[in-house]
Symmetry: C2
Subunit: 288 residues, 2 copies
């Protein structure tokens, strides 16, 4: 746990779920002059937070989190990273039961899509006087910009795949199922459910290797915000890992929405994409 | 190649794609008194057709198929089984080029969803004077009937999952992406793309084992006809393998549409479902 003696801006906390996203957000926030206090959700990640002031907490135990934030005078909270392991009833601690045991909340938490769960967590913090802010509010450089991010641009066939995948991603997003879709030769071949983007790309790779989808068409990945998504919850994100998985799946590129998606480790992601001949595209808002 | 000296009904041919479906259809047809002539598409399956009169053909070579059918006086053709390996241009034989080289057909064949490809194949046969009939026309016993097929019935939670999965399956079907969806605790966790139902179920199983979806909720698989699907192409099908995969994924049951889905090897499928405590349900048409 490192010291945080010289804060240049209002202190913030990051509730960190799984994946590398919270770490990127934390680093970007620190670079932007706001070293965050990290609350790592138990069992959600292997991120090493040694360089940040941090604590671990259980989704079932809300009271210790409130105490830690109040002690540090933190009023602004960022939610980052998914929650893969939905808490089971038995993990809810008595101290938190008053809040968490509301049947409707528990039902949502255990059965809702990510969007419902995040909305519920946001409500919970707000009812305790905290302000939920977006990762991009403390680390704006993460936001995807419009146009091609690297050296490669989509061609006409890629554009047609972007349209097809974007339509599908929009539909499954509006149903709170997932954010991503892969289209190839104008045909949508994979839709993202609870498995996440990386596993969907691994599936596309496997279908490609099995000859189940054309080996000659490249295809694209599109990730979109869910239409009804609270923009303070995690935006769709891509990073070097996504680029590598897309390249391994034989795709020609990745498209996200400018201003409504995060690009993690941008320099490395672009270098990977350029090296593999993939385009990275920020779609103009409203284009799809 | 066995003899077929005593045909009781008008002769039919089955164009057999991949999977076990064509074999079930062929067996059911023979039991119903119509021993079919099998045209096995090259490279699509390992089915042993020794018990049926059969030949092998390439999707790119249409002329030998026409000759074989005419020689046998066969005018009715059933299409059964998917075509996983879309033919590449180089596999199209000169004799068939006249037909297959129409740019629009090739584009559809290589980029369309199953539905587009099947529609195109149907057109091709019809233009040559053949009549495409449905598998259920020669093997009506394969059709799913309404209500619970086995000993287990869906409970209230299963019904809610059936609704959620059916809505999702309807949407992706209308986009010609896939037929199946899995819902669990009211949340859709997996959507079927080009990978097919069995692989989607394997994914649900993996997510379950990884704790990514609840281990306590069961969940259901729903398979629906694509709204725009030609009913002479394969209807959604389930069989003992589907039941085993659903059980391995921890699901509580499977729902299909009565009269618009095939149940293969019904006795074994029901026995498997009963043994594993799964329901098999034929939804009343128009229920979803």
């Amino acid at each position: 746990m490192s010291g945080t003696s010289a804060r240049e801006a209002e202190p913030v906390a990051i509730i960190a779920g799984n994946g590398r996203l919270p770490f990127y957000v934390a680093e970007a926030a620190r670079e932007a002059g706001t070293p965050p206090f990290i609350i790592q959700l138990s069992g959600e990640t292997g991120t090493d937070w040694a360089d940040f002031e941090h604590m671990e907490a259980d989704l079932g135990g809300f009271q210790p989190v409130v105490a830690a934030l109040q002690k540090r005078g933190i009023r602004k909270v960022v939610l980052s990273g998914g929650v893969r392991t939905r808490p089971e009833l038995k993990s809810l601690r008595p101290t938190a039961r008053l809040i968490w045991s509301l049947p409707v909340i528990i039902r949502k938490l255990r059965s809702g899509g990510d969007d419902k769960v995040l909305r519920m967590v946001i409500d919970l913090f707000e009812r305790h006087g905290f302000e939920i802010i977006a990762a991009q509010d403390i680390a704006g450089d993460l936001l995807a910009t419009a146009g091609t991010l690297g050296a490669v641009a989509p061609d006409r066939e890629d554009r047609s795949d972007i349209d097809a995948a974007a339509r599908a991603a929009h539909v499954i997003g509006s149903m709170d199922i997932g954010q991503g879709a892969v289209s190839l030769g104008g045909r949508v071949v994979a839709l993202e459910g609870a498995e996440g983007t990386d596993q969907m790309l691994a599936r596309v790779r496997a279908m490609r290797e099995a000859g189940r989808i054309s080996r000659k068409r490249r295809g694209v990945l599109v990730k979109l915000c869910k239409p009804q998504q609270d923009l303070r919850a995690d935006l769709p994100s891509i990073g070097p890992e996504t680029v590598r998985a897309a390249a391994a799946a034989g795709l020609g590129g990745i498209a996200v929405e400018a201003g409504r998606a995060l690009v993690l480790d941008r320099a490395e992601a672009i270098a990977e994409a350029d090296g593999a001949g993939l385009f990275l595209l920020g779609l103009e808002p409203g284009m799809n």
